[in-house]
């Protein structure tokens, strides 16, 4: 019987397995972590809006606090409140944004927003959710704005649970308030 001789240059079984393994490693699909941004979703007169969490200092339940009216202040100032010994101004977004109020006294929360040295509280009806959304879901949103003020302030928009959400630009809001 003729003895089997190793063929010169022949690939061994071990080498072949290693090549297959390396090939698999190279072609393996690695899921890319999509960039996400954290948002606070809130509602005003049934319409959903959002702030980037990076602009939010805290969310307060103001249902049991008295907002002190400041006579003579601009019409969009709801008043001031005491937050752990610090006086905080509160904005009435309906007046600032020119929105029609559905019911009186529905605003139970205040979102404390900030941009550089500017800080204020925005009174809102409900905090809907605090969530991460993919960066890619954000679309230019000012065509959704229903008036000139919102057109100036709406930064992005996205759809969430079949609802349109307008993202408000806190820097522009600060400019508008301090104008």
């Amino acid at each position: 019987m003729e003895e089997q001789q190793p063929i010169a240059g022949m690939v061994s079984r071990e080498q072949l397995q290693e090549w297959v393994k390396q090939r698999r490693e190279r072609t393996k699909t690695v899921p890319v972590q999509e960039q996400k941004v954290k948002m606070v979703l809130f509602s005003l007169a049934g319409v959903w809006y959002a702030f980037f969490c990076s602009n939010v200092r805290e969310i307060l339940d103001i249902s049991k606090r008295t907002v002190i009216f400041v006579p003579g202040s601009p019409h969009f100032i709801a008043g001031i409140i005491n937050v752990r010994g610090i006086i905080q101004s509160i904005i009435d977004p309906y007046r600032l944004l020119g929105l029609a109020r559905e019911k009186e006294n529905t605003e139970r929360h205040a979102i404390i927003i900030h941009h550089e040295a500017f800080q204020t509280g925005i009174r809102v009806d409900f905090i809907e959710e605090v969530m991460d959304i993919p960066q890619s879901a954000l679309q230019p949103g000012n065509e959704w704005a229903i008036n000139d003020t919102l057109r100036e302030l709406v930064h992005y928009a996205f759809t969430y649970r079949d609802r349109h959400v307008a993202v408000l630009d806190v820097a522009k809001m600060a400019q508008l308030i301090q104008r």
Binding site: F69, V70, P71, G72, S73, I77, I80, N82, I87, S89
Partner: protein, 137 residues
Amino acid sequence: MNSSRWNILLFHLADVPFGVVVAQIMAITYPVEADAGVEVIQLPERLAFQDRKVTYLAPRIVWVKERDVGVMIDNPERIVSIDPAEIQFLADYTRSRRFPQAYFGVMLTPEGEPVLLLDLQGISVTETETETLDLLV
């Protein structure tokens, strides 16, 4: 009483808590006749109270030192002593456009209620004086 502390007279008008520095007051009197020949400032005429109804339960006039003018307040409640360092500033954007010197700050009562501190000198300036002061800022 520690002289470094300020005495503040507290009152409410249309449910808004106000305070005035006692050192700015020359006297407190009952209201005077309209034709008494003295100027008495009505706060709702200087500071817009928007849609709030302003009624006086026990009106009094605080007469401002170094000015021939009085300011009508309501039902003086009490005098509290505070350290001026405890006074906080109102954000600039909350200031009155017509009378930006109307308030010099906000204090908290021992119960934690914010009180708007009226500057009696600031509220009693004329609008012409206000414009001049604005130009100097």
